[in-house]
């Protein structure tokens, strides 16, 4: 997927992406200081924001193949089960109950299937939104800090699901996270944004262990200090 001369103004903030290519079937990490435009860029990709200028070449992906999970996911005024199967219902697909049960069990929500999704803890809501985003087999999944409220064990569990999915049928992932170790474990490529501009891209190792760019080096160092 290629973004060319992409621009979006939101108040004082101005996102300007000259040329950024995200290879399909890979796990991409987006990093950068708060307010650098990571979420704005993802919302443009997901179609929930319209760009002021520029273009995105989705390389054949249709809007229905793309999904995004937010840091504070939207939960329908309905049960956990109905939230989980909602994207299937939209597509007229009858839920495969065995698969649904598996997802619920994986999220630790098997005994809460009839409970209101809005009464779940924020961590549980994040797990549910992650499962809901994957249940309909999308081609592009954008994960905007969705795993930020999870404990290390749960984060590892989700990383396992992602890698398992990639091993069986690779899709494109875009992860926004400040947890650099998490990104290092799963990402094929990392892209760094600052003040609305794309400054650098590289493999996880290049970007997080041996950053060539000064801004990236500073950012990685600060994040490492903060994680202590």
């Amino acid at each position: 997927m290629r973004m060319i001369e992409l621009e979006k103004k939101l108040g004082d903030f101005h996102l300007q992406i000259r040329d950024l290519y995200l290879a399909p079937g890979r796990i991409h990490g987006l990093i950068g200081p708060n307010g650098c435009g990571k979420t704005t860029l993802c919302r443009l990709l997901a179609g929930t924001l319209i760009a002021d200028a520029g273009s995105i070449d989705y390389e054949g992906l249709k809007p229905r193949d793309i999904t995004m999970t937010a840091q504070k996911p939207y939960m329908l005024h309905d049960s956990v089960y109905k939230n989980l199967v909602y994207p299937l219902r939209l597509r007229g697909i009858r839920p495969d109950e065995t698969r649904v049960e598996q997802w619920l069990a994986r999220c630790g929500l098997a005994d809460k299937r009839k409970q209101s999704a809005r009464s779940l803890s924020s961590g549980e809501q994040q797990k549910l939104s992650f499962a809901r985003a994957l249940i309909f087999d999308p081609q592009l999944v954008i994960v905007d800090e969705t795993l930020s409220n999870l404990d290390p064990d749960s984060t590892r569990l989700f990383e396992g699901w992602m890698l398992e999915r990639q091993a069986t049928r690779s899709i494109t992932w875009i992860l926004i996270s400040h947890q650099l170790p998490h990104l290092f474990r799963v990402c094929d490529e990392i892209h760094f944004l600052e003040k609305g501009r794309h400054l650098a891209s590289g493999t996880a190792e290049q970007m997080l262990l041996h950053p060539a760019n000064d801004a990236v080096r500073r950012f990685v160092a600060e994040q490492s200090v903060q994680s202590w």
Partner: protein
């Protein structure tokens, strides 16, 4: 003994000319006026949220003004429209329940429209973004928004119903307070007071209060269910 006294008063009260009819008129009038206003108010509220046009803020402000408009003014306006020489005179709705429903629709529709519009404004961005990321079509998105506002729609309808049964000014002007025909519970109370029959007036008032209390209980029930939304 007390039971017999009470049941005696009760049967005397309901056998009074016009009392039973006033309850019937109130229920029929409020049912139709709330039904029509709900359909119009919900549709207009959602349309107002969705539509982008020059002067939208003025329209919203006008609607808010109408939400607080004195019913007697709306009654007068309705009368001007419906009287024989008025533009809707051919309907012959003056001094009929239809005329009272017409006036009440003008009072209640802005109320329901305003409540629905302000709630839709609050939750629509989140619902639209969610629907988009789930792959919903335009039609599915609109349906989802309405479904997500279910409790708020109930609350708006119940509020409209409360307004309908307690309203006196407009129905007095349009209905003419005709015994056994267009006399409602509120206008009956007014007539009983003029006749100096305070006991019956208070009893009818208590009945009206009980109805209003039930309506409020329903409204509170829906509002409580809606509480988790507050942080959306």
């Amino acid at each position: 003994m007390a039971d017999r006294l009470f049941s005696g008063f009760f049967s005397d009260f309901f056998s009074m000319v016009g009392v039973t009819d006033s309850i019937r008129v109130t229920l029929v009038m409020s049912f139709w006026s709330v039904l029509i206003s709900s359909v119009l108010g919900v549709l207009l509220g959602l349309l107002l949220q969705r539509a982008q046009f020059a002067g939208k803020r003025i329209v919203v402000r006008l609607n808010r003004t109408l939400m607080a408009a004195p019913p007697v003014v709306i009654g007068l306006f309705s009368y001007m429209l419906l009287r024989n020489k008025g533009p809707l005179g051919m309907l012959e709705w003056v001094f009929t329940i239809q005329g009272m429903v017409f006036a009440q629709v003008l009072i209640i529709t802005p109320l329901i429209c305003g409540l629905i519009h302000s709630y839709a404004e609050r939750i629509a961005p989140a619902v639209y973004a969610f629907a988009k990321t789930m792959g919903a079509t335009e039609r599915q998105t609109r349906w989802l928004l309405l479904r997500e506002m279910k409790n708020e729609v109930y609350f708006a309808v119940v509020t409209g119903y409360g307004r309908s049964i307690s309203e006196v000014g407009a129905v007095f002007l349009i209905g003419g307070n005709i015994k056994n025909s267009t006399r409602t519970m509120t206008t009956t109370i007014s007539a009983l007071k003029s006749a100096g029959d305070f006991e019956a007036g208070i009893f009818l008032g208590v009945l009206l209060m009980i109805m209003a209390f039930i309506i409020q209980c329903l409204a509170d029930h829906f509002r409580k269910e809606d509480t988790p939304d507050e942080d959306d």
